[in-house]
């Protein structure tokens, strides 16, 4: 709406801001292009020019409010039809080799369709923060298709993560602990009184809530007993409680003793201040920098607890903090493979690029959704960029930024329509605007003025600074 109201003068004024360099320019007209880029790149997947312009006209607080209040809780992309029906597992040994192979193939194809669905949503989501946070929780409460082995259950978990992505962390924790994909991934489904399995009990403390060093082995052992009996129904694939498998005895968790069940253990974990601090630290690394400021973490974590684990409240605090906007923290995070591929697709407006290819490229770059490498998730940061990944990212840029040549259909059906792309800037100096759209900091190698438009865009995309957000 703001965009529509913008008249030519307004746009010229906004463009004028960018001439002041890369330091944030806050004025009555709004946060300006650099701040808008920063806010949108950190909370979405590669902002587009219209989005940046829209947010540039808002103040920082208005922009943050808009991101947090507008967030949807459902995907706009229709999921594949098969997600509606849960097929109960079949013992493979009862099937013929041909049937086994057929089923494996169906499952592989469903995994592919599921990834295409999510990455399509990342590309099209009207509120990218929802997908950004859904991915954040996927990397926090990890589960992986290779082990869970049910695309339907992985879909349901994804819906759950999106539903709670910006709501209550405590509710999400209770729900995810009973989520069937999680029950399979961390062996809760086989955790019984006679044979407790500690996998979930350990990770819920180490990774999901307290963090390492804030619990003991004895706590893990007793928590595992409390979670016994949480299982899933074979026929429906839904959570069920099996009283016969549950250990109703006395447990001691973090110094408290009682006949706790799983929910009681989760409440004990949520009552510890370490839990909020642990989650806030992780959010800090996602949104601000790789070195959380402990005093700020403490302040935001206290607010997070006071607001009954409202994720929006923590994000509001984090995004409004001076650290988020500090110039020292601009362009210091490495783009994840998804930031990179979805961002490239969005920023170049590659309409004909097939999402299947985007999925494949993200996987080759090390981020295959629904299959994080292990329970700790993707390590992120500089680990995203070794020599292999860096060269591969360059190859992808070169391939996707090829312009359509007349009478020469491209094999991959790609077209970067450079002319309308340049026209979107509505400015004589489109180069300056393009740089503003693509890079968080000035490029290390300024493209020579004599280059053709497409070469200029490619030079910006191949600059090391393009890998940062």
């Amino acid at each position: 709406m703001i965009v529509n109201l913008c008249n030519q003068t307004m746009i010229q004024r906004l463009l004028f801001f960018c001439l002041f360099g890369y330091n944030a320019t806050v004025g009555a007209a709004g946060m300006g292009l650099a701040d808008a880029w920063h806010l949108l790149a950190r909370t979405g997947f590669g902002p587009t020019w219209p989005e940046i312009r829209e947010f540039a006209a808002l103040s920082r607080t208005e922009g943050i409010d808009r991101l947090l209040t507008a967030s949807r809780v459902q995907a706009v992309t229709p999921p594949p039809a098969w997600v509606a029906v849960y097929p109960p597992p079949v013992a493979l040994r009862d099937l013929s080799p041909q049937e086994q192979q057929r089923r494996q193939q169906v499952k592989r194809e469903q995994g592919r369709e599921l990834r295409v669905w999510w990455l399509t949503e990342m590309r099209n989501a009207p509120t990218p923060l929802t997908e950004h946070m859904t991915l954040f929780w996927h990397n926090h409460f990890t589960s992986a298709l290779p082990k869970v082995s049910s695309p339907v259950l992985m879909y349901r978990q994804n819906v759950l993560l999106r539903h709670h992505a910006l709501r209550r962390f405590d509710v999400l924790l209770h729900e995810i602990a009973k989520d069937p994909a999680m029950l399979i991934y961390l062996d809760g489904a086989v955790n019984r009184k006679r044979q407790p399995n500690e996998n979930f009990a350990r990770e819920v403390m180490e990774l999901f809530t307290l963090g390492e060093g804030h619990y003991r082995e004895a706590d893990v052992k007793d928590a595992a007993r409390a979670f016994t009996g949480w299982s899933l129904d074979r026929e429906t694939g839904e959570f069920c409680f099996r009283p016969a498998w549950h250990d109703g005895g006395t447990k001691t968790i973090l110094g408290q003793t009682g006949r706790f069940d799983g929910d009681a253990v989760l409440d004990i974990l949520l009552a510890q201040p370490e839990t909020a601090a642990h989650v806030v630290r992780k959010l800090w690394r996602e949104f601000i920098s790789l070195q959380p400021d402990e005093a700020e973490v403490k302040r935001i974590a206290e607010e997070f607890r006071k607001q009954r684990y409202e994720i929006r409240a923590a994000l509001r605090c984090l995004l409004n903090s001076p650290a988020f906007w500090a110039s020292a923290h601009r362009g210091v995070l490495v783009k994840s493979p998804l930031d990179f591929v979805i961002g490239l697709q969005r920023q170049l407006d590659l309409k004909t690029l097939e999402q299947n290819q985007v999925v494949q490229r993200a996987a080759q770059l090390g981020q295959n959704v629904f299959a994080p490498p292990n329970v700790k998730g993707w390590p992120g940061g500089e680990a995203w960029l070794d020599s292999r990944a860096l060269l591969l990212r360059r190859q992808i840029v070169q391939q996707w930024s090829m312009a359509r040549r007349p009478r020469k259909p491209l094999a991959q059906n790609l077209d970067f329509a450079i002319k309308p792309w340049i026209r979107q800037f509505e400015s004589a100096d489109w180069r300056e605007a393009a740089q503003r759209l693509l890079l968080p900091l000035p490029p290390l190698r300024q493209p020579a003025a004599i280059l053709s438009p497409i070469e200029i865009v490619q030079a910006l995309l191949l600059d090391p600074v393009y890998q940062l957000k």
């Binding site: 040994r93 080799p97 086994q100 192979q101 992986a144 290779p146 082990k147 500690e198 996998n199 350990r202 790789l290 362009g331 210091v332 995070l333 490495v334 080759q364 090390g366 299959a371 490498p373 292990n374 329970v375 700790k376 390590p379 940061g381 500089e382 680990a383 960029l385 070794d386 020599s387 292999r388 990944a389 860096l390 060269l391 360059r394 190859q395 900091l441 290390l444 190698r445 090391p464 600074v465 890998q467 940062l468």
Partner: protein, 386 residues
Amino acid sequence: MMMKRRTFLLTLAGAGLGLSPIRSQTAAPSPNRLLILIALKGGNDGLNTLIPYADPRYRILRPDLAIPVDQVVKLSEQEGLHPQLAPLREVWQAGELALVRGVGYPEPNLSHFRSMDIWETASASDETLTTGWLARCFAAHSPPANLIAAGVAVGNDAAGPLQGSANALTLTDIALFQQQARWLGLAPSTVPPNPALRHIVDVENRIRQAASQLKRGHRFETTFPEGPFGRALRTACEVIASRKRASVAVVHLSLPDFDTHVRQAPRQGRLLRQLAEGLVSLRAALRELGVWNEALVMTYSEFGRRPQQNANRGTDHGTASIQFVLGGSVRGGFHGAALDLTNLDGNGNPHFVLDFRSLYATVLEKWWGVESRSVLGAQFETVKLI
């Protein structure tokens, strides 16, 4: 954590088959010792790789899949190689092939992904580490300064054991790699004090430097096998041929497709043929380059396969298995101990006899002469194969 085992180092002297391995050469310790790792991805069936052909249990468990006795390449009165591994016989006879049996770990995980993770990060079964064991080794014991890269992975995949090392390169083909390096353009003259940006510029610089030092098109007398594995071995040998200009400590390759749940025999046979011919060509090429005595070749795989065949003439995920170690300085023969097929776990899988981290400790301590505890998290006994 240490293994319980019956006997180690059962060299084959006097086995009665006239195949006793003889140590041909003794290498002087060298600071430039090379490790070549080959990942057999998917879980190679160890029981049909080194076959306990004299064990009656073997034939009971494998009514269709057992290799007929007359086809086994017999190395002792108990054990012999799969017929497609016959090319390795000459390496065995030269005393340069160590067959390390029963390699696994406690509380085995049967998922490909997780178990490979355990092998490549050298973690315990219930522990998650995010860096590869070689990456930790290079972080703790910096490799010589003239190295173009501590590790080079040949192929398209990220190399697990090198995961997290700033000093690793991946390439499929030297010419292509050099082309990509040229496309990087010139190094920027100044870089702002931004750690992420510095990291990227460092990676770019390492690529440029390696590309200028790698020499392509070395003419080998050796013929490499056809196919992707043969091509990867050629690239690996070309990288190693560039060592005079700048050295490499580790080369990593993979041979995928070992997940033989259905109709195992033809597929595993084809893969083992590729492996054997590949290893023989690797040995020939490294001898040609005069570095065979400074090379240690080691295979690894996420797990072996279940002794009891399944209903589809295939095998399901197993546990402990056999790994190959080769090299001019290797003490050939049998190491570890044969699996006990009478004592299987709840899934019907054998118990391991030798922890895989003992192989890593051997590489670290005996091959490179560095301590292993800080890399492996505990002290593992070494294997006397060097």
